[in-house]
């Protein structure tokens, strides 16, 4: 036959499916084949099936060659010639090619897993989210179910479990981790101990959960954090055979390292955020601002966009001094950011202690000055306004003292805006201070506005480089006549913030004190 010595197996097969001729290579490959033997008996089923399709003209055009295993190798079958009587088949050994393609596909799967893992593990700084992601990824790609176990905190271990259907359960369990071989070590040892395969039948119920179904093998792995163990991972698999495939072992180790690092970062962030929140609570401006007889509203915006506090502050003390007066304070410490905020906290505490003498603003300011002058850092000074508030019939009586601070503005019902001339020296810089106190009466609907220089020194506007300025503030306030305190404070903060747009600005603080209208009798 043609191609008798050809290196590729060639077969002539009749339309009825009987081998007519075959070359040496074909004979060597298909040992049971010889002329007259039906192909279905001499060759694997996939080849016989391909033959029937081609011989009957049912082969799908463009479907590519049929392929399948012959012994331990893989062949493609190419119908070189086909007519009504017979088909000539060439068989091509594609074992190497197919194996390479298969390896590439597996490699791509692992790469996809790593991309997914890196995205899911690093996207959230929330500890529980991070633990969930680690458990879910491990169950999906490395096992059938997985547990992530945190080191003990408050006599309990946080356990995050993911079942074969991807469902997450999170629990704080007071369990003894020594009942699982290798787990205690994985939670303590640094550098991490190697993975340890265990007999799942002997694992306690909180590990071998009902919802996991039948489990045949299990492994305990450490999740290394930044210099400390971040937790441990238990992988549970249905199949009984222990051990990772070589590639799998590499990826499991990589995954444990990433998950451990991500959990450790999320845990640090969560702890830091909790500490900051606790410390910040002392420095944050007060929210409840109702004062007997007057409406008080405040707005606050620190300079730094990521900051919650700054060098401006305000406070409202419902009853100060011997009378029925309340005391409202608004001040501005030199400097910005956390350092300035810490000083505002000290000043607020000092003023709180000085409340019994609030009948005499000058005395309060003198004592505060004394306290600030004894500080080790004399460059830190403060400007502030004190406003004592008392009801006077339907009106509100104010006593106002300014210590080096922008003059408070009074918004009258007819739209007039008056500055309160209560000038005094700033506090914390020189031994002897001066101050003068002004009395102001607010009719129902009228407002006194205390503000920090961050408002009038806001730079921006339509052309980007203009100061907001006191004049513009007064002009805008005229249109606020009759508005409640909260609406005035909101309006002023909105106008100043819009004025700076996206640009930089100083801390901004506003307190509006109004005599309410239409008070219910």
């Amino acid at each position: 036959m043609v191609g008798k010595d050809a290196p590729y197996p060639i077969l002539d097969v009749t339309a009825a499916g009987v081998v007519e001729r075959l070359n040496d290579a074909a004979q060597e490959l298909l040992t049971g084949a010889s002329p007259g033997v039906p192909l279905a008996r001499a060759a694997p089923a996939w080849l016989a099936q391909a033959h029937r399709a081609v011989a009957s003209g049912r082969a799908r055009p463009g479907a590519g060659p049929a392929h399948g295993p012959v012994g331990d190798r893989v062949f493609e079958a190419h119908p070189l010639h086909a007519d009504a009587d017979r088909v000539v088949w060439w068989l091509l050994d594609v074992t190497g090619h197919r194996r390479a393609a298969e390896a590439l596909r597996t490699e791509r799967e692992w790469t996809g897993f790593l991309v997914e893992a890196s995205r899911e593990l690093t996207s959230s700084l929330n500890l529980d989210r991070c633990l969930e992601a680690a458990a879910r990824l491990a169950a999906r790609h490395l096992a059938d179910a997985a547990l992530v176990i945190m080191p003990m905190a408050g006599r309990r271990h946080r356990v995050t479990a993911c079942d074969p259907r991807g469902r997450i359960v999170r629990e704080d369990l007071g369990v003894d981790v020594r009942t699982v071989p290798g787990l205690d070590g994985a939670l303590r040892a640094f550098p991490p101990a190697p993975a340890r395969w265990i007999d799942p039948a002997r694992a306690p119920g909180w590990v071998l959960r009902e919802e996991f179904g039948a489990i045949g093998s299990a492994v305990v792995m450490a999740l290394p954090g930044h210099g400390l163990p971040a937790g441990a991972l238990v992988l549970l698999r249905r199949r009984r055979q222990q051990g990772f495939a070589p590639r799998e072992a590499v990826f499991a180790r990589l995954f444990a390292a990433w998950a451990g690092a991500a959990i450790s970062v999320a845990r640090l962030y969560t702890e830091q955020a909790a500490i900051t929140e606790t410390l910040m609570a002392e420095l944050l401006p007060p929210v409840e601002l109702r004062v007997n007889g007057a409406e008080v509203a405040a707005r606050y915006r620190p300079a730094g966009v990521a900051e919650l506090v700054g060098g401006d502050f305000y406070d409202v003390h419902p009853a100060a001094g011997s009378g029925r007066e309340a005391l409202v304070v608004l001040g501005d410490v030199a400097g910005k950011g956390l350092e300035a905020a810490v000083l505002t906290g000290k000043i607020r505490n000092t003023l709180h202690a000085l409340l019994p003498m609030a009948d005499d603003h000058h005395r309060v300011l003198e004592r505060l000055n004394d306290v600030l002058l004894t500080r080790e850092n004399p460059t830190r000074f403060v400007t502030l306004v004190l406003a004592s508030v008392a009801p006077s019939g339907p009106r509100v009586a104010l006593r106002i003292t300014s210590a080096g601070h922008p003059a408070p503005l009074i918004l009258r019902n007819d739209g007039r805006v008056e500055a309160v001339e209560a000038a005094g020296t700033l506090i914390g810089l020189i031994d002897s201070i001066t101050s003068s106190t002004q009395e102001v009466l607010l009719d129902p609907g009228e407002t006194c506005l205390l503000y920090s220089d961050g408002i009038i020194e806001a730079r921006g506007g339509p052309c980007g480089d203009e100061l907001f300025g006191e004049e513009r503030l007064c002009e805008k306030l005229r249109h606020c006549a009759g508005m409640p305190a909260d609406a005035v404070a909101e309006r002023v903060q909105m106008l100043a913030s819009q004025w700076v747009g996206g640009g930089e600005h100083d801390d901004m603080a506003i307190v509006a004190i109004s005599a309410p209208r239409g008070e219910r009798t």
Binding site: T270, A306, C463, G464, R472, H479, D486, M494, G518
Partner: protein, 344 residues
């Protein structure tokens, strides 16, 4: 009493700044058996929407508009403490946790606050962060709270670039984003464009969508929207542009010589406002955004006695200063054509 009458009564109390009467109106509605959600969305919400419309038409002053908002805020606070809201507010939030916030620079907090109250009523644990939340604060909160979803509100289209930043930032923490508010367009087209996971036209629809559950955002949901080159150029140039346009206008419009400094300031603010909307339109590459803004502004200006030609002159002058920005010029021309069609 019909709902419309209750709306009318609340409206009268709100613009008068009378929070006691306002409280009586909503409490009477609850006593008469109107469900809390309906009081919020069918009585309070229409009053707030009306305040904006009446201001635009110059039928109430800016002080009245702000007073009405302040009264409505108090009304919401009173309703939140009402016993018929309490059973839900005290609950653990069995549905899950939602963060509700306005995007940075957005001052219209009322729609977001309404949504927060409705979601609480429906059993969610709600973190309401309020108006103009700087994105870093929002993100820090999301990392701590790990909510099931974030509802982002924005009313003015000029906040769309900031909204885009906020949407993308929220999604990077793994939280799906529901966008709402007039800024995203009447059909929510800008919410989709900027990659929000869902959009709702109102609080009820938003609550329904959240009840169905939002799928966590995935990067393969599509590449992020990139603003056009002209947006970047116009953003850099905006302050100079306003200054130059003011100078041009002074030459073109002789009456401006007699303007008081307040009038001049207001004109400059109007020009800056127009440029801001032009930037937003370039950001989303949609001329309709700009045209609908100029249509709204015509109403605001004419109701205040500003001649119809003034806005058109402003648009022309701005176009004259942007010879190298063809997209922006086309938007300005389309807006002028729409103005001409409107006055005819």
């Amino acid at each position: 009493m019909r709902i419309e009458e209750r709306v009318e009564a609340l409206w009268a109390a709100a613009i008068a700044g009378d929070e006691y009467t306002a409280a009586d109106v909503v409490l009477a509605a609850l006593d008469a058996g109107v469900p809390m959600e309906s009081v919020l969305l069918d009585v309070v919400a229409p009053v707030q929407a009306r305040a904006g419309r009446e201001w635009a038409a110059n039928r109430i002053t800016v002080a009245q508009e702000h007073t009405a908002t302040a009264v409505n805020d108090r009304v919401l606070a009173i309703l939140a403490h009402h016993p018929s809201a309490g059973t839900h507010i005290g609950s653990s939030g069995g549905r899950g946790r939602v963060v509700v916030a306005c995007v940075d620079g957005e001052w219209h907090a009322f729609p977001a606050r309404l949504l927060a109250e409705v979601l609480r009523l429906r059993g969610w644990r709600v973190d309401y962060l309020g108006a103009q939340v700087p994105t870093p604060h929002l993100i820090a909160h999301l990392h701590r709270a790990a909510p099931d979803a974030v509802a982002l509100s924005s009313s003015l289209a000029v906040r769309l670039p900031a909204a885009h930043t906020a949407i993308t930032a929220c999604q990077s923490t793994g939280a799906p984003v529901l966008a709402g508010g007039a800024a995203f367009g009447p059909d929510g087209r800008y919410a989709r464009l900027l990659g929000a996971d869902a959009w709702a036209p109102d609080a009820r629809a938003a609550a329904d969508l959240l009840a169905q559950g939002l799928r966590p955002h995935r990067p393969e949901d599509g590449p992020p929207h990139l603003p056009g080159h002209e947006y970047t150029v116009l953003t850099e140039r905006a302050p100079d542009l306003v200054r130059n346009v003011m100078a041009d206008l002074a030459r073109r419009v002789p009456e401006m010589a007699g303007y008081t400094s307040e009038q001049r300031n207001r004109t400059a603010e109007d020009v800056a406002h127009i440029v801001e909307f032009l930037r937003a339109a370039l950001y989303v590459a949609d001329p309709d955004l700009f045209t609908s803004f100029t249509g709204w502004m015509t109403g605001v200006l004419t109701s205040r006695g500003v001649p119809a030609g003034a806005l058109s002159a402003g648009l022309q002058t701005i176009a004259g200063r942007l010879p190298d920005l063809p997209q922006a010029r086309e938007m300005l021309e389309r807006a002028q054509a729409a103005l001409r069609a409107g006055t005819r």
